[in-house]
Structure formats: structure tokens, C-alpha cells
Subunit: 336 residues, 2 copies
Amino acid sequence: MVNYNDIARIAKVSPTTVSHVINETRFVMPETKKRVLDVMKKLKYQPNLLARSLATGKTHTIGLVISDIRNPFYPELVQGVEELAVKNGYNVFLCNTDYDIGKGLKSIGALIKRKIDGIIVASSQVDSSVIKQLFDTNVIFVLVDWCKRNIKADSLYFDYKVGIAEAISHLISFGHRNIYFISGPKELKTAEIRIRNFMDVIESNKSNDLNYKILEGDHKIDGGFRVAQKILKGKICPTAIVCSNDLTAIGAMKALQTGGVKVPEDISIIGLDNIALTEIVSPALTTIELERYRIGKTAMELLLNRIKNKELPKQTCTFKTKLIIRESTSERKNNN
Amino acid sequence: MVNYNDIARIAKVSPTTVSHVINETRFVMPETKKRVLDVMKKLKYQPNLLARSLATGKTHTIGLVISDIRNPFYPELVQGVEELAVKNGYNVFLCNTDYDIGKGLKSIGALIKRKIDGIIVASSQVDSSVIKQLFDTNVIFVLVDWCKRNIKADSLYFDYKVGIAEAISHLISFGHRNIYFISGPKELKTAEIRIRNFMDVIESNKSNDLNYKILEGDHKIDGGFRVAQKILKGKICPTAIVCSNDLTAIGAMKALQTGGVKVPEDISIIGLDNIALTEIVSPALTTIELERYRIGKTAMELLLNRIKNKELPKQTCTFKTKLIIRESTSERKNNN
DNA sequence: ATGAAAGCGCTAACAT
DNA sequence: ATGTTAGCGCTTTCAT
């Protein structure tokens, strides 16, 4: 591997000068510069970023911790992060926690040892042990959709309530009063938040005399399917179902249709996330939108700001959700 | 940041010994060892992997170059790679090329400067300039679905022909003779391979007097939709459409249904990839399966083998594709 | 306008 | 059984 010394020797300058022409960090006589650059080109020199990082203390790498790249929630977020990262000369380590807190802790540990300049934690499986680790190690980080608002850390919040309120209003205006909610797995933070927001909205609509019930799914298609089947077997049936995420909604829809129940004629369904799938299923799914690409991009922006200036006051950004009305919701039938 | 010297000083040993207890690389008296470990724990010591890498020449990082994480083809592949990587103590840099060769070249350049131990190139946008760069820099790499078979590099191949042949046989047995193919963008290597394989299969079935046509889509839903609309406007209509990927097939199906054409009653459709979506759309899509998770895992295996032993003979692995029959294909109607 | 030399935190050959 | 020392390839202070 060719290095500064090789170049310096051949170009008849000191390693210092080589460094300075590469980094353009002090004046070098045009002729000297040219000589160095020529040698570099001839030797096909590639700077060793490890060495540079060791010397400067900056790696220009970041870590992105997510739960599961197969969950359609993540790809766009990852894209948003990666794109802006690369644009700023950063490379990103992708870490899947597989919904496992232990793996999350290990990932973060590994990232820290690799001296990444910052971490974006967008894993739904984050608990206080993770937060503690982040604070203890003094690493720079941005939290995505971590529930505790009062935490002293750069954070992105999702305002589910706006979207859910729109969804409930939408259903109410269609005459629905008996509304079920299929949640994610309750041990999941993001699932928990979504449940709480749903209940808050129900609460603030109590003048409408709503009847509701919360059933636990798993944020996957299977869970939605299973729970919806169970609903069909029950004595009383809701006229509308709101789901904690789109996959659940799609599973539920499939189960209803399989069971001979028409969506939306018999039961209306609303999802959450607005993944690409929602436009493809039929009926197209009414859902609550979360702008994942923008979220990823913004998370990276906050991280870059923080990296540039550690003393910045706490940064915060809230992403409003929004109801997208498609075909899976309609007027409540009278005979129900 | 606490380092070897701090630990050595406090534990009253030499830095060498610290290194050896950390790496378990030579015998250290139990008492000495304990003293060192205790100090490490007390100081919450975190080894600096950059420094270690600089000294050893191994980073235990790899690069994974893909086209577009939002393309449902990739998440499972990424998962397969990442999982096995982490299991072996590696972290992975994810690089999206966004279907742009220039970006691909830059990504690979960056990875090399970061001294990754190896690269998995699973981007559909790879051309000879990329291959040249890989060879020139002497980096270890594995190619996924890169067409040239005679290249002297570890490679994963996909045998589309098996699956496509099954698909065509399936269609023929259903009486179809007029079969269109909606391809991906022709400048894309993977799209090109798929076209060629389709034509080969048609060719080897010429005794059946098949009529075919190839139309260019974009490997996205929109393209499939657009092309299918165009097909509907044409004078002669195929009775079956094979698509270069599932997204295209789903878009095409949507267009047909929107145009009042029934799938599969009027036109049969077959996709390729077997992404999760295919089971959800209705009718569920008959498609040709590619085991992406296993592909990712295998790519990582080959890379690990190569990293362990540079002198290994060329490694090769071919993934057979397989027809998965669902609901989007059926007997050809007589009146067509 | 350029160079010498120390240092980033670790490893490993060579001593003892 | 442990320590000394010279790197790994770069940056950066201090000289000149």
C-alpha cells in the first residue's frame, strides 16, 4: 500500500507537504503541488481513512440502528439517512436489532468502538438501558420516535394524534360508533405510543358515545389476519377497525374478505404508515401517513448539526401524521 | 478517552500485557489479568477499533452496495448479509447507488479508503468500470447476479431460466400461445439478463408456435401500469403476460383490472422475485421465486471464506428460481 | 513556503 | 510471565 512517505520521497517533499496538498490546508507552491499530485496519480494513491480518523478523531461515519429492514416502514427512512449522509461525505453502518434489545445494545457498543461520529436510533426496540448506554458513553445521537418527551436529547417525534383524530372523525362522520383497534405487540415502544394516542383520541370523543376495544396484533400481516378472524367469531362486531400499522390492516382486511365480510361495505378499515402497499391492495387502504423519507433525512440533518456543534440547544422535530382517504372506509351500514 | 497507557499505568503492567489480556493472545498470570480487567471495568474502557485496525490491517467491516433499498428486492438480501456479518463480528456499510453507476463507483472508492475487509456488490447498476475498479484496487469482493459468467471473481448467479421455463410451460399447458414480456429498463444489467433468459426459453419452445413481444417497463409499479395500458389499447392482446419483476406485474395487473380486464380469466400474469406483496394483492400473484435472504447470507459466506483465505479457488453459487403458482394464472379463454 | 517530529491507540516482534 | 520498542498512515504543532 502506497503512503505519504512513498509520495513524499518520490516527489521530493516532506510528508507534511503531501498532507497539506491533499487536504488543501495550507499554501503550497503551485509547482510543488503539481509534483505531488502527479506522483499521487501515478501511484494511484488512496488515502487511508482509518489513519486519518485516528489522527483527527473524526471518522465521518455514522450508525443507523433500526429494528428490521424487512419492515416496510424502514427502507425509505434508511434511504433518507443514507442519501444525505453520502452527500456530506459520511458512510453509514446499518444495524438491524431484529426487535431485540440485547442486539441493539451490542450494535451500539460496536458502533461506539468504531468511533462513529454519531448514531441515529430508529429502532422501535429501545428502552432505558439503551438510552443509558448512549448517555454514558457520551456519543452523539438522535432518537427517532422515542416516547419520552422530556429526554435531553435530539429527537424526532411523530404526532400520531393528529392523524388518528382525523381517522376517528372520518369514521364518526360515516356513522361508525363501534371501533376496534388492532395494536402492535405491547412490549414495543412504538406500538405502545400508538395505543395511547388512539385511546386519547377516543377519550376526547366521548361525547360521541363511542364503543371501542383494543386487541393485540404483532405489526405484521399475520397478526392482523389472526386478530380479525377472532373478531369475526365474536358476538358483536365492530363496524370499523383502526390498525396500528398498515401491515396489520392488510392482514385484517384479508381475513375479513376471506370470511366473506366486505371491506368497506361491511367493515371499514384504516391503517397507519402509508407504505407503498396501501395503494396496491384492493380496496386501496385508507391510512394515516408518516413521511418516512423526510424523517430519515431530517434525522440525519439533526445529527449533522449536532456533530458540527456539540453545544447546540436540544433539537426537536415533530412530524404530523395525516389521514389519507382511499377506498377501505365508507358509510356504516344500517343493519349493523 | 481512556486507553492502554491509562490502564497499564493504573494496573501496574505494560501496555503489551493489557493488549494480551484483551485479545487473549498470550498467557497472563490470573492475578495480573484480574487486575487489568478490574481497571478496565472501573474506567469503562472501550477499545478503539480504528487503532486496532490500523495496526492489524483488518477492520472487520464490509461494504454492501445495492441499487435501492426501497426496491423490495433488497431488504431481505440486506438482512441476510447483515445478520451473518454481525454474527461474525463484522459491521456493514450500506451503500445505495440509486441506479447510478457514478454513485456506485464513488461508494466503492469510499469503502476502499475505509479499508473494509470486503465488498458485496449486489447493485444492478454495475458495469465494466465498476469491475475494473474492483480488480485494480485489489479489494476482496463478491458479485451478486453479475451477468458475465467467465469473470474470475467470487459470484452468485441466479438461474432465471429454470423458473421462466416453468412459467412458460405452465402457461402453455393452460393453452396460452400469445405471451408478452414486460421488461425492466434495458440499460439495467439485471433487466437485460431477464430479457435474454425469457427469449432463450421462448426460443427453446418454438415447436409450440409461440407468439411473443417484449415491452420495456421500469421495474416499478408505474411502468407495469403504463405498459399494460398500452397493451390494452393495441389491436391484438396477449392472453398472458410475464413480467421482469413483481412490481411490474402488480402494476400491470392493476391497469388491466382498471381497464375492465379480468385477471386471470382474461389475461394471466406472472411476476418474478416473489416479494411479500405477491401474496397480498388479489388475485395473489403467480411468480418466479428468488430466495433473497439466502442469497444475502450466501454472499456473506463466500466473502467470509475469501477473507479467511485469499488463495481459495473461485467460488460460485447458482440460485435456481422456481415457479410459485398462485391465482393470477389460469386456462386461456377460447374467445381470445 | 516547507520540514521535523510527536502523537492518535493499538499490535507484535523481539527481549529478558 | 512480562516489558521495550517500533511501527500502522495520517495530522499538526512548532521551527526555520
